[in-house]
Symmetry: C2
Subunit: 190 residues, 2 copies
């Protein structure tokens, strides 16, 4: 890949793991990953204990980019409600991409079916951080039950991502934001 | 398995495919499936074109059992709202099972990442039928926008199933029904 020619073998492997896993699933083979990264298997095993650790590291590496896409560009001026809705607007935008396959962290959890896997631990931490963000916004916005609202928002977030990623739903008509608006209203959130 | 000793090789294979795929994912090997079913690989290939067809058939075979769990036991006396809420009560109950891994049909869609796969087509048909059921109930219940409400209910259904199945959420305190209640109220559904 032109964009990663100058990256280190480690970073090329992590990018390849993130890209191929997202596209094809966690069962993607070591050979395919090394080929995509342009790194020998021998070098791979010098850099990582194996595929599990590499997968976890690739998910970890993507966190800043993943989370920054949901951060409101003007957080000081936006209300808590606007900041929450922004997350879902971005989700709706992302889902319109031809390569969209849903939230990479939820996908890994669904695919691995193993909460102890190092990649599952990374995915879980991302989900918990988003829950904490929603809860904090719900508190600031005066929601009656901030914890309940945060959990409801995550049901919608993961349901919308999974369904759009699987090609059984489209979000580009504002389905996620409409659903979230109803829940914010019901929770009494400004 | 004691319960399938008298089943035909075909049915034993389909049950094994459903069980192992649900527990371990769609990448489960042919050898493991045949071993679990007590059927030789040779017999398997006489019965099915291969794993793809067997997986699709196993999902198809489970549909009646899957759908019947969500059917209200007294549909005549229940209101549309009660019939919708019953689906989510059953989801909450199912999620408390130690072996719960979410909706098997959504999981297959997330894992295969291929809308043309024969198993994806089966999964998609199940999702579409549930959407049609919700839409019909929403119409009967006088929801303002039955189509929108049905789609919202599916976001919650799949989000709740995926999150509980992945072990990042618990539904046994009524999270799904509380969320659905808010959406039914917002839609003006009796």
């Amino acid at each position: 890949m032109a964009s990663t020619d100058k990256a280190s073998p480690r970073d090329r492997l992590l990018d390849a793991a993130a890209r191929l896993t997202y596209r094809d699933g966690v069962s993607v083979g070591i050979e395919a990953l090394c080929r995509e990264a342009g790194v020998s298997k021998r070098s791979m095993y010098q850099l990582f204990d194996g595929k599990d650790g590499m997968l976890a590291a690739s998910l970890e590496r993507r966190i800043p980019r993943y989370e920054s896409q949901f951060a409101h560009p003007d957080p000081e001026r936006a209300t808590p409600r606007e900041r929450v809705l922004y997350v879902f607007e971005r989700l709706e935008q992302a889902s319109a991409d031809a390569g969209y396959r849903g939230c990479p962290y939820l996908a890994v959890l669904v695919e691995l079916k193993n909460a102890e896997h190092p990649a599952s631990l990374v995915a879980r931490s991302v989900k918990e951080r988003l829950a904490a963000t929603f809860r904090a916004e719900a508190e600031r916005g005066g929601a009656r039950d901030p914890d309940l609202l945060a959990r409801q928002l995550l049901l919608v977030f993961d349901g919308a991502g999974a369904r759009a990623g699987a090609g059984v739903e489209r979000l580009d008509d504002g389905l996620a934001t409409a659903t979230v608006t109803a829940l914010l209203d019901a929770a009494g959130m400004d």
